[in-house]
Amino acid sequence: MRRVTAAAIELAMALALLAVWWIWSAGSDSFYFPPLPDILATFGDTWVFARAGSDVVPSLARLTAGFSIAVVIGIGGGILLGGSRTARGAVGPIVEFLRAIPPPALIPAGIVALGIGDVMKVFIIAMACIWPILLNAIDGVAGVETTLVETARSYGIRRRDRLRFVILPAALPQIFAGMRISLSVAIIVMVVSEMVASSNGIGFFILQSQRSFAIAEMWSGILLLGLLGYALNRGLTRIERRMLHWHRATRSSALART
């Protein structure tokens, strides 16, 4: 019952904010802030589904490709580096330096080296996403309880199975924490790369609308990005919850015991 009231309050607040925006913008003759109904109408015209195929799909495809590459390299590298202290020491400074470069600064370099096509954007997105995942995977793998690993070893469990059934599950919560950070970075970099050099994509559409003073279109794009960001985050949280339900269960039961 309390959860229902809580949800009701949250929903009421969101609706109230929307209403405020609606009323405040209704009489607006400001060129930059068109009335909300106009934005929503444009949103319908533009994204359902006139430009969905030409702008949303390419954007999401690049995002997925870059993010997946980063996940694969990040986890793989994390397992390699997390298992060996010398390897970590050797690669550490390079990783620290590359991680510190703000990803958008690499876009001009990406254009010079790879052109302005999809390859460049996927590369930049992957470059931006690797570091949080890699660092968290290293921490996760290196932080697996030694008792666990040694027990597994003394039972004669093979290396590959140890990796699969002991090390990876133990490191997974940390890896997911890294992936969540990476996802929001990925969205930012996707939009920026499309704004700097592209002929399609959501970022391109928003900037193009602004430059041609199609203000309602621009707002509809901003709205779409907000919704996409929200939906993608929710999706990842859901996957995480499903894959880590055992983790939450053990944690809460451990808490209940104390």
Binding site: A109, V112, I188, V192, Q210
Partner: protein
């Protein structure tokens, strides 16, 4: 590190990777050394760091008091939870075109983007931190007859500091990213714009030299914040360790 650099050097010298795309490190560093003597580099750096610092400070000034207020009231938190959840994932870069319309292409636009992006990590961390107050400490303080403000200053805030420090570290790198993005996309003065211009003008070595500069800057900021955080957390963790030992 040296090994990696020498591999890069030999690969680029032998044109395995075309030096037009990636010049040898020695050339990048000699360009960098030359640029270090020029005023442009330093004014670019000052511009970028100015946006970073002012934006971060403004976001801090808004988010931390707001987070304390929202975090200490269950009703307020509930009211604002959904709007925060909706606003937070909006990539701040989506606002680039709007900001250009409203503020133009100058420093203000950059500042707005940085503040908007930094606000959320700081706000959420502060709320978590305030809510995570140790109930025993709180009850103890209350039974000792400490007033509301005293409890806030002596119990709630120290408990929230580690969280705020984490928020600050996250925001710092986000701020740098947004400052560079604003310079890159909007063309406000700063390192981002110079990197873009160098790239478009075919001055590849200069471009990489500037990327090295921004990387070193980011690394320096990261380690400063990590050090601050370690100092703050050190106290925190050590207290908890002591409790565990007992």
């Amino acid at each position: 590190m040296l090994a990696a650099l020498s591999v890069l050097e030999s690969v680029t010298r032998t044109e395995l990777i075309s030096s037009r795309h990636f010049p040898p490190p020695t050339k990048i560093f000699s360009t960098l050394a030359r640029e270090l003597g020029s005023a442009t580099l330093w004014s670019d750096l000052a511009n970028t760091l100015g946006g970073w610092a002012l934006g971060l400070a403004l976001a801090f000034a808004i988010a931390v008091p707001l987070g304390i207020v929202v975090g200490s009231s269950a009703l307020l938190h509930r009211l604002l939870a959904l709007p925060i959840e909706f606003l937070r994932p909006i990539p701040s870069v989506a606002l680039v075109p709007l900001v250009v319309l409203v503020y133009g292409t100058g420093f203000q636009s950059k500042l707005f983007l940085v503040v908007f992006a930094c606000l959320w990590p700081l706000l959420i961390q502060t709320i978590y931190g305030v809510q995570d107050t140790d109930p025993v400490a709180m009850d103890t303080a209350r039974s000792f007859g400490l007033g509301r403000t005293e409890r806030l200053v002596l119990v709630t805030l120290p408990g929230a500091v580690p969280y705020i420090a984490t928020g600050l570290r996250i925001s710092s790198s986000v701020a740098l990213m947004l400052a560079v993005t604003a310079e890159l996309v909007i063309g406000s003065a700063g390192l981002g714009r110079s990197i873009n211009l160098a790239g478009e003008g075919g001055a590849v070595e200069l471009m990489y030299a500037l990327i090295v500069v921004i990387g070193v800057t980011g690394w320096a900021l990261n380690s400063v914040f990590a050090r601050i955080e370690r100092r703050v957390l050190h106290w925190h963790v050590s207290v908890r360790r002591l409790e565990h030992a007992r």
